[in-house]
């Protein structure tokens, strides 16, 4: 393998690692956990998929770890309403991903951007409309692609088409991970843009403690805010 190719592969991994780490850092995770998760996502991407039987398989880095993170974020959600919102956003995102695949042209050159970016942007928009939160965006981005793959596999099976579903099969470069990251970036970008337009945050009383924004009341951090987190 030539030096140029080695540099290229290393550069791609470093960029993905750096961006991914910064994004996970914006969720309800601290630096060290975000770093460990990003290493795990990239590291397990090189491990073969785990077969689940019937043509179904799952990749640890591309699907299991992101799904585990979604479950963790869902459990840690501030309120029941936020939990319901993130489930709805995830299901709608799945529908959006399926519709996107069907309605967009089949050839990549006909699209100005790659489909996984479109999934991420649409999932991020869906989640932002529902919850205006980075965590919701991440959950919708991940679950949208995963659920869409599951629905597609079931429908192919029902139509008698040989079923091979590799959930998160491309590891860190899979649409599952990338759309989750892009959804967070979009939520962050929209949040920052709106904040700039309105001339500063509306939540000046909030403080960043223990990895999340909290309302600073007379007795310290009080009600947990989920917006713009």
């Amino acid at each position: 393998m030539s030096l140029g190719i080695v540099i290229l592969i290393v550069a791609v991994i470093l960029v993905l690692f750096g961006v991914g780490h910064r994004i996970l850092d914006r969720l309800r995770l601290n630096d060290k956990v975000a770093l460990v998760l990003m290493i795990a996502i990239i590291g397990f991407s090189f491990v073969p998929d785990i077969p689940l039987g019937g043509g179904w398989s799952v990749n640890v880095g591309g699907a299991l770890i992101p799904f585990g993170l979604v479950v963790y974020l869902w459990i840690k959600a501030g309120s029941t309403w936020e939990k319901i919102r993130s489930i709805i956003a995830g299901i709608i995102s799945a529908g959006v991903v399926i519709a996107t695949n069907m309605l967009l042209p089949a050839e990549p050159e006909a699209l100005a951007i790659d489909p996984y970016i479109i999934y991420g942007v649409l999932a991020g928009l869906t989640a932002y409309l529902f919850g205006r939160s980075r965590r919701s965006a991440f959950m919708a981005g991940i679950m949208g692609v995963l659920l869409a793959d599951i629905v597609r596999g079931i429908i192919n099976g029902a139509r008698g088409i040989p079923v091979t579903v590799r959930l998160g099969g491309a590891g860190a470069a899979d649409a599952v991970v990338l759309s989750g990251f892009i959804a967070v970036l979009l939520a962050e970008g929209i949040g920052e843009l709106l904040e700039k337009i309105q001339g500063g945050t509306r939540h000046k009383d909030m403080v960043f403690e223990e990895g999340e924004f909290k309302h600073a009341g007379p007795h310290g951090a009080g009600k947990r805010g989920d917006r713009h987190e």
Binding site: V15, N59, I88, G95, P108, R166, G169, A173, A175
Partner: protein, 419 residues
């Protein structure tokens, strides 16, 4: 006299609204989830079935037909290595005007291929990974239809190419994973197939995504060595960091094919897509015949294509090389290797008498040139996105403050000791 109606309580209104929202939500969800049950049409035909773009030269004469979306800036290299760039596109008339850039000299690639001994071109005897993103593609005259969702004739063509590569001593693996439907998500699904192939087989020498085209059959018909065969088009994605490296790999294959089987490679098209080619700098799409071509003709051209692929990937046809050595024809090459300096032995072929750079140097030059440009572009794009985010999200004072305390804030926890 109008009798005022009793106002509805707030709870009743809320309940009604919630019921309506729930109904709308359920309806929307049902529509979205039932969409995949609608069969997707194969091929990216435009406007009407069978439509395709026509590339025109400076004088308005047709150069080629493409069942792909073309844009200004796309590149086209004809069978005789004439290099064109698309200067304007008429989307209504499905024509694209090109400007002639010059003739590409493939002789350095030919010289490199001739000077490399067997299996040294990529430094090791790597494996050629093969798959079909559009597994439904098939050939109407033989298969009876242009699309077979359960697995089309394209899989048989890919199998023929794989067998031919192996017959020549190369290593090839074909994954027949079905990526149906032929929709915008097909490349996302085939990326997973490719990733699994790369995890299970290595080192990777080349990646070939085998397709068939959707233009009239006569565009691909040819007679090579007295045999009716189908030509092959090479397609490269311009939207990834490996584009330049993949273009150089395509030049190598074309140089090898032009030498062994002139007319086999129809042309090279460099479009706007990605085609999962960001994964490897030796990754190409091969369009083998069209939906109107009899599959037998396409299969007949695969052994010839295997000659070119083996020459470009392994620096020769491994089995042929062994045979030649057994017959004593490889003595000259062996002597040349013995005369080479010790550090060159077993690693690279000896430098040519003409004083051209060594094979290793050429290989690094070729791969490094393309990949180096890829790295630079990727870093520029990342830097631009980060800069845009900083500009949008902060005022100048805040920006200065954040930059000042960036490392302390972002990585501060790593220095902290647990209390």
């Amino acid at each position: 006299m109008r009798v005022p109606m009793a106002p509805e309580s707030g709870v009743t209104v809320m309940n009604k609204t919630f019921r309506v929202n729930r109904l709308l939500f359920a309806l929307m969800l049902a529509v979205l989830l039932l969409l995949p049950a609608v069969p997707t049409r194969a091929d990216d035909w435009y406007g009407e079935k069978g439509a395709y773009y026509q590339l025109l030269d400076d004088g308005g004469w047709p150069l080629a037909s493409l069942a792909l979306t073309v844009y200004e800036g796309d590149e086209y290299i004809s069978a005789d290595n004439r290099h064109y760039r698309i200067s304007s596109v008429d989307k209504q008339g499905l024509t694209a005007q090109t400007e002639f850039l010059g003739v590409i000299d493939l002789s350095p690639y030919k010289a490199e291929l001739e000077s490399v001994s067997v299996n040294q071109n990529n430094g090791e005897n790597g494996v050629i990974l093969m798959y079909c993103t559009h597994t439904d593609e098939s050939y109407v005259p033989t298969d009876g239809t242009e699309s077979q969702p359960e697995g089309g004739g394209i899989l048989k063509v890919a199998q023929t190419l794989k067998d031919a590569i192996e017959e020549r001593g190369g290593k090839a693996v074909l994954d027949e994973t079905n990526h149906t439907p032929h929709d915008a998500g097909a490349y996302e699904r085939s990326r997973r197939t490719l990733a699994e192939l790369m995890r299970q087989h290595g080192p990777v020498a080349a990646i070939l995504d085998v397709h068939r085209d959707a233009v009239p059959a006569e565009q691909y018909s040819a007679e090579i060595d007295g045999e009716e065969v189908s030509k092959v088009r090479v397609v490269i994605g311009g939207r990834n960091q490996n584009s330049a490296a993949n273009k150089e790999f395509a030049y190598k294959i074309k140089a090898a094919a032009d030498e062994a089987h002139p007319d086999l490679i129809k042309d090279i098209f460099i479009g706007k897509g990605n085609y999962n080619q960001e994964v490897s700098p030796h990754s190409l799409i091969l369009e083998c015949g069209t939906h109107e071509t009899p599959r037998e003709q396409v299969e007949a051209s695969m052994p010839k294509m295997a000659d070119a692929v083996c020459q470009a990937v392994y620096g020769g046809i491994p089995n042929k090389g062994e045979g030649e050595k057994q017959e004593g024809e490889g003595e000259g090459e062996q002597k040349e290797e013995q005369n080479a300096s010790p550090q060159n032995q077993g690693q690279t072929a000896a430098p040519q008498a003409t004083g051209s750079p060594s094979v290793e140097q050429q290989s690094i030059r070729n791969d490094g040139g393309g990949t180096g440009r890829g790295v630079i572009w990727m870093l520029i794009i990342v830097a631009a996105v980060v800069a845009a985010y900083f500009l949008i999200s902060m005022g100048s004072h805040e920006r200065k403050e954040k930059m000042k305390g960036f490392f302390g804030r972002e990585f501060g926890e790593f220095g902290k000791k647990k209390k």
